[in-house]
């Protein structure tokens, strides 16, 4: 599982779900905290589609923490100010890097639930997909009609 996927699951998970996975690791390992959980900012870089240039839309508050388990480093950066969750995420990352993480099935189950919820929300929104009927025959109904009119 790559880092993007791992961190997406953990970031979207509840604090308790992450804490339970970290607690399993703590039964065996004693992580060293290299950077205590703390707040910092991340500037959000965007690409605008008109001239394909970059700009900053604004910042977001994130919490960060760094730990180490037997020489394997674990890092967490996540939106919000939940110090405990951030520390737990760093512990899980360190365990993954050390190759001792045993909660992969739990992660996959969490991901399934998260994806399911997103798809249900998506279904609610897709119900508002609209089909307008043009009352003006002159108006191009769709993009293809517009393109033909240009030719």
């Amino acid at each position: 599982m790559d880092k993007k996927r791992l961190t997406r699951i953990l970031a979207k998970a509840d604090r308790q779900e992450v804490a339970a996975m970290a607690a399993d690791i703590l039964k065996t390992y004693r992580p060293v905290i290299l950077k205590e959980p703390g707040k910092t900012l991340a500037m959000i870089k965007m690409r605008e589609p008109v001239k394909q240039s970059l700009f900053y839309i604004g910042e977001v508050i994130v919490s960060e923490a760094v730990v180490e388990i037997d020489g394997a480093r674990g890092v967490a950066v996540v939106m919000g100010d939940d110090s405990e969750k951030t520390l737990d995420m760093a512990i899980i990352d360190a365990a993954v890097n050390k190759g001792v993480f045993t909660g992969m099935e739990t992660l996959l189950a969490l991901e399934k639930g998260q994806n399911d919820m997103v798809m249900r929300e998506n279904a609610m929104h897709l119900k508002t997909m609209v089909s307008f009927e043009s009352m003006d025959q002159e108006a191009p109904d769709d993009l293809n009609a517009f393109k033909k009119a240009q030719l």
Binding site: A11, P49, Q52, V62, E121, P140
Partner: protein, 357 residues
């Protein structure tokens, strides 16, 4: 302009600050931060956008602290933000991959990916719902949770941009990716002419009322005539930062809700016409601000004699903190400058009276 330092008033100022609590104490009922965050989310979105800081909880808390004053809440967020380090820059956000919750076009009826109305007040009757006064929040939540659970899951499919299709047809100018580092107006002061990155950042942080008024003036004739909203989309984009132990990997830090708009105008292209595009992108669900930003972006590109086409006018007068701070300073002691004005007025009146005699 001149100011004068004054001393004294320490006790009165202390009592004045304490009196603010009195103005928040008119009821035993509390405004819970969680409730503000979730039930006044459009206001929270506006504050985050004008503060340039995406933090729903802190925006809600700021609103509670200052009796719902928009400019005070923006001030509080900006002030808090200035106490934090900035240790990260996100990877470039791909808004093309947005998880769309609303997407409309005023240019074409049928667009690839479809028009999704999402949640909008556009079609509501603007009648006060008196039943809402006694609404049960628990019942509302139960009803909506049940509705969500009852949905058959639908795969999320990113919607292609309408402008990309028109670009393929050669109707809109195409540009290569410009990967120059953006200017950050929170670090370096604006200079004129401002680059595109400084312009977009400034407009995105601007006071919604200010840029809506400017865009309105352009629509009414003090600028180009009536652009068309080619595409308005609102949805979630994912944020990633580099993974420190291995820069080849990125980690997910969360997702934010943004509104993005592309407005189309007809523009000269040698001996024929083309479509020119104005762009707007803001935090949260804030459609009029995003549309206004797109209108002004295009106005500034076109240039001309109107205020909306004057870069310095537009970019230096729309920041909530700066504009409200400057207006607010008029309340501070101007005793010396006013005495000077008063003396001048008195002298001219005395001189005038002498001439009459």
């Amino acid at each position: 302009m001149a100011y004068v330092a004054v001393s004294g008033g320490k006790e009165a100022i202390g009592e004045s600050i304490r009196l603010l609590d009195f103005y928040r104490s008119g009821t035993d009922k509390d405004v819970e931060v969680e409730a503000v965050e979730n039930k006044l989310s459009l206001l929270v979105d506006r504050i985050m956008s004008e503060a340039g800081l995406y933090s729903k909880t802190y925006a809600a808390l700021a609103l509670k602290q200052c009796e719902g004053s928009l400019e005070e809440a923006v001030f509080l967020l900006r002030a808090y933000r200035s106490t934090l380090t900035r240790n990260y820059y996100t990877d470039t956000v791909d808004t093309g991959a947005m998880r769309v919750v609303r997407r409309i076009s005023a240019a074409f009826k049928d667009i690839t990916g479809g028009q999704i109305l999402g949640a909008t007040y556009d079609y509501t009757h603007r009648l006060i719902n008196f039943d809402m006064d006694g609404e049960s929040p628990a019942e509302l939540r139960r009803r909506m949770t049940a509705a969500l659970s009852a949905q058959a899951p639908e795969e999320v499919v990113p919607c292609p941009r309408l402008s990309d299709e028109l670009r393929k047809e050669g109707l809109i100018d195409s540009f290569d990716e410009d990967n120059r580092s953006p200017r950050d107006v929170t670090v370096k002061m604006l200079e004129f002419p401002a680059g595109r990155s400084a312009r977009l950042q400034t407009l995105s942080r601007a006071d919604a009322g200010f840029i809506s008024g400017l865009a309105y003036s352009a629509l009414r004739g003090f600028g180009q005539v009536h652009p068309t909203v080619g595409e308005l989309r609102c949805g979630y984009v994912e944020l990633y930062v580099s993974y420190l132990p291995d820069e080849n990997e990125s980690i997910f830090i969360g997702e934010i809700l943004i509104t993005e708009v592309e407005c189309f105008n007809a523009a000269d292209d040698k001996d024929r016409l083309k479509l020119a595009v104005g762009y707007g992108a803001v935090f949260g669900r804030n459609e009029n601000k995003a549309i206004s930003m797109a209108v002004i972006d295009r106005e500034l590109d076109s240039g001309g004699p109107y205020p909306t086409q004057d870069e310095e006018f537009v970019l230096t007068h729309g920041d909530s903190l700066e504009m409200n701070g400057f207006i607010s300073h008029l309340k501070l002691p101007h005793y010396v400058t006013f005495q000077s004005k008063l003396d001048s007025v008195r002298k001219t009146r005395v001189a005038g009276n002498e001439r009459k005699l």
